[in-house]
Symmetry: C2
Subunit: 429 residues, 2 copies
């Protein structure tokens, strides 16, 4: 007789309740593929009687998830609350310490407490799986940990936030404003209705970058937020100009080793129109890995929503049911290194800078003087006057410029009273 | 003390010797990731003294691989001979029966004897792993078996043969002939020097399609070769015309369920220029999966060569070292179905037909009459005369046409003495 695994699902929002339905409908399929039975013995959420898209069994409902660990014999716990601390952390910690396997899509939790939690998992000989935390339905973490396990990975980058990518794609095609497109994204369920900030300011993508780094380079999760910029300042005129210059605008997450130092970053990029990454549109996510001997690998798929997330959670479940205990980060905690952080100020990039200025004599000369002062040389300059408002947009594409100098230069623009708004800066990829 | 796994590598061609070098240089990395040690205790090839790109240890050399099983205690055997029968089959069979795990990149073997061999593996409780048989460095089989394990997959398609894709890409960009580009591919090591036929006639891609089907749909490997067409008849003028019509020419492998019947096929396709698949060039492979709930997933990577193949072989090794015995096809042999085959003759497609004809009055009318007879309606017709030769190329893009009718019609063209060559037929994707 095959063992039955007792399962608890904690958090019954969009993802938790979709997952619960999947678990119920796919019991037989799971048994066929693993030889193991599953039994959902406990569910938990704040509000028992909230309206949900799938029916729940109220007989196994707990309002305090910690009670589940005390009162029931659980083998596997799904955490789908989704915060970086609080009950999310508490229940995962408690479950692991009680030798319960944990599966979570929570990138905020893993990117903040992943090292600590994986140590507990390893000590208690249980799995902590978080495939769904990066790339939605794309099995990117499993691919790094297993499919490309012995490759030397040098760089991982891609489009990691579906909300931002949807907004950028829509702004490009509709020529509508950021705030209008954001409203549309919220209506369609692609952006959080109350506080969409974490998707738009780069925080969500950076959490994913940190998880990708730690798997690709076997390092402890870095705690520095060196370079995190979002898409909030991009205007539709930036798309028009980018288009003329044969570019698209994408929010990229990038991690790589430069002289054995870790360089993680999230910021909008100008990418060439005819590149692969320039053609990943809408809510799609895509990750590109450069490794040896495998070469370049690309994975693309739907990056958000309960369907793809559920697909990843279920793959974690099957991995556990198939019975192999694995290091959460693919390698024992003791073997994971702390990699020193690359000095951002030493990096350099070609830049797109857009300045909104008063259209009067001498302004351009002040700007070019400042650029020269900070050793930023101009590759291309476009001036677009707005005669009605007596203003002009000045767009500068620079040659490779040092980050620290660029920062100082932009700062000097910020205090110049002829420059009417904060400059828009987009790095060329 | 951790167990040491004894390893044998059988076949020391390009792939086998590259793998051997990888195994030797990555012992420590493997131990870090799995906690297990490996020891290469036997190697085998036909010729002990052949010049190889990597040095081999002649003290552990066997010219007959079957001797290894008799004389040594082996845990894992790599088969890298590469034929569908003969010693490839014999050594894999013998190893599995002696409870030795087997890892192979051999798609000819798996697509022909995979069902039989997986049954032996299951009975003896050992692994038979063949990640490297499809998609080179792309972990596509692991993705279906594990990453997307509980999805309902409806269609899998892609560019599965790097040699063909290289030749098509080169013909397109250089406008050179098939035979010249093939010679170049052979010089660069992208095509077999002696007999490149299996890569060019669709055989290799179809073997991969069969393996993909069996994993995606949990069916026994099909033995029908319903529709297998290669790229040998495509000429550079086809690329010119395709380009004008906004198409690219790609050799696609496709498998899908239509009304619960299995429809597997490999043939050249006209694909729209701006599609993802239309922009996968050179030796790249790409696979697209349509599944529920995950949506569309794309995986792309280098499809051939010892580096990517080795990467996949090593991922199989790590999977075994991590200690989980898995069904070779993701599900027990008893649970795998025989899916009935879709009747090719009932399928329909828009077609690109190119006819080389005598440029004289009445020819076009005969052709259009034949098309009408077989209920093939013309969407577009292009006539390109060659006044010197007194011939013309007639290109017809049809509306959706029934396969059986199309076949009959093409046959009638074959015997028409005004049509000078066998027609070129490319399906629209």
């Amino acid at each position: 007789m095959s063992k039955t695994f007792n399962i608890a699902v904690v958090g019954l929002g969009q993802i938790g309740s979709y997952l619960l339905n999947e678990l119920n409908t796919k019991k037989k399929d799971i048994q066929n593929k693993t030889g193991k039975k599953i039994n959902i013995v406990a569910i938990s959420a704040k509000n028992k009687n909230k309206k949900r898209s799938f029916k729940i069994n109220k007989k196994i409902f707990y309002s305090n998830p910690l009670e589940i660990i005390k009162k029931k014999k659980i083998d596997i716990l799904f955490e789908a609350i989704g915060s970086s601390d609080g009950m999310s952390k508490k229940i995962v910690e408690t479950a692991l310490k009680n030798k319960v396997h944990v599966i979570t899509p929570n990138k905020a939790l893993i990117s903040k407490h992943g090292d600590y939690l994986s140590k507990i998992a390893e000590k208690n000989n249980v799995n902590l799986e978080f495939e769904a935390s990066v790339g939605g339905g794309i099995p990117i973490l499993r691919t790094i940990k297993e499919g490309l396990a012995t490759n030397k990975i040098s760089k991982v980058y891609g489009i990691l936030n579906g909300t931002s990518n949807y907004i950028l794609s829509e702004m490009e095609t509709t020529k509508d404003s950021f705030s209008n497109v954001l409203k549309k994204a919220q209506l369609l369920g692609y952006a959080e209705p109350v506080n969409p900030k974490l998707d738009l300011n780069g925080y969500d993508a950076l959490a994913k970058v940190k998880i990708l780094s730690s798997l690709a380079f076997n390092n402890k999760i870095s705690s520095t937020n060196n370079l995190m910029e979002g898409i909030e300042n991009i205007e539709s005129k930036d798309f028009e100009i980018a288009d003329q210059l044969n570019f698209k605008i994408k929010l990229l997450g990038i991690t790589e080793l430069i002289n054995n130092r870790l360089f993680e970053r999230v910021h909008p990029c100008l990418v060439k129109k005819n590149t692969y990454i320039g053609n990943v549109n809408g809510v799609m996510n895509a990750v590109i890995l450069e490794g040896y001997p495998v070469g370049e690998s690309v994975l693309q798929g739907e990056g958000a929503g309960p369907g793809p997330t559920s697909s990843a959670l279920m793959s974690d479940l099957l991995s556990i049911l198939r019975g192999n205990i694995k290091y959460p980060f693919g390698i024992s905690d003791k073997k994971r290194n702390k990699i020193r952080i690359y000095d951002l100020n030493k990096s350099s990039n070609s830049l797109y800078i857009r300045l909104e200025v008063k259209d009067k004599p001498g302004v351009l000369s002040i700007i070019t003087k400042q650029l020269a002062k900070y050793k930023i040389s101009v590759q291309r300059l476009i001036q677009i006057p707005d005669h009605k408002k007596k203003t002009a947009s000045i767009v500068i594409i620079t040659h490779e410029a040092n980050e620290l100098n660029s920062k100082k230069c932009i700062k000097s623009f910020n205090v110049n009273k002829n420059i009417l708004k904060n400059p828009v800066l987009i790095r060329l990829f």
